[in-house]
Amino acid sequence: MSYNIAIASGKGGTGKTTVSVSLFQTLRKELGGDVVLVDCDVEEPNDALFFANAKLLHNNEIKQRIPIIHTDKCTFCRKCVEYCEFNAVVVMPSVEFAEVNASLCHSCGACLVACQFDAITETEQLIGQVNHYDTGLIEGKLTVGSAMQTMLVKELKKHIPANKLLVLLDAPPGTSCQVVETVSDADYVILVTEPTPFGLHDLKLMVQLLREIGKPFGVVVNKSGLGNEEVYQFLDDDGIDLLGNIPINKLFASNYAKGDLLNNIPLEIASVVNQFTHKIMLNLGL
């Protein structure tokens, strides 16, 4: 059984990738190949950018099953329309039109069960791929134009090797379905925020979400020194664990922009990363 730690934020650009990649690198020194980093931000995975020498070992194509309605067999009875929870099936008897809208379809197969005239068959549509790198990084990458983020995250999680001690899941920003899917089987969640009103607003949404689904979590404040003190007040009032405080640092930011996040790490930041890494390990009893 592996421990799953998800890194999420609510607001985008607070430092999920910074924390995920730094945590991964720190843990790799101790655990070696027993830790994997999974980039679940399938719309724009970027963890791989920070491992310039990483080699792609192999990839899996992830496909979605899309029903096709054959109008020569269809009686336009609309039973499939009634079965579809996602309003993806359009059937208009008056003009003898029947079609499935792929961008609304969730591939549940209910319309196939509904149809008694064998008028519906399935075809496959590529929604993305799962890339496996030699550095222990796995990433999901959504096909441009596909809206099946959550389905891809679900499939991505099936490709995580089961024999690892620790799995780090770098979540997409926001609090939508794809984020819920990412954190849903995490044993612990690290929330990354920034001390700005916007950062705090979205942190609160994420805290609400995690409390609702019953996940233990702690908070890393990134870009500390920016904005105001309100986030600390909130954490204090709500009794939320402050895991670490990464100071705002221009050199660190410019290294990140160059893809050089893991080299020349300012000492003050390296020590914070070490600190929260050990705190999390302690929290998990590892």
């Binding site: 929870e85 996602f86 309003n87 993806a88 359009v90 059937v91 208009m92 008897p93 008056s94 003009v95 039109f97 809208n101 961008s103 609304l104």
Partner: protein
């Protein structure tokens, strides 16, 4: 006979024009020849997914020729175009009556 739909926020002629298509509260059906109007509640307005698609499907089934709304989403637009339903976009704050009057003055 020309059947026109105006998206409406209520079910009377004094109601405000609703600029949403798939999530409009009501559809005002107007017979341009006779000036007769009737209102139908939009049963898809709170759908989690595909409200626009369903509303477009309804329009085609009702043999509507023209729809006046604030805008149309891509999925609804594709369907309505396929069946030659004219889409008219209005961005003004108007009552349904004002729009009906404007049409009948033509």
């Amino acid at each position: 006979m020309s059947k026109t739909v105006i998206t409406s926020s209520g079910n009377t002629l004094t109601s405000k024009f609703d600029k949403r298509f798939g999530r409009a509260e009501f559809f005002c059906l107007l017979d341009e020849a006779t000036g007769q109007t009737s209102f139908i509640a939009n049963e898809f307005k709170d759908a989690n997914h595909g409200a626009g698609t369903k509303a477009a499907e309804f329009m085609v089934e009702q043999q509507v020729n023209k729809i006046i709304s604030g805008d149309f989403g891509p999925k609804a637009k594709e369907l309505l175009e396929k069946f030659d339903v004219q889409m008219v976009i209005l961005q003004e704050e108007l009552t349904i009556q004002a729009i009906v009057d404007r049409i009948s003055k033509k």
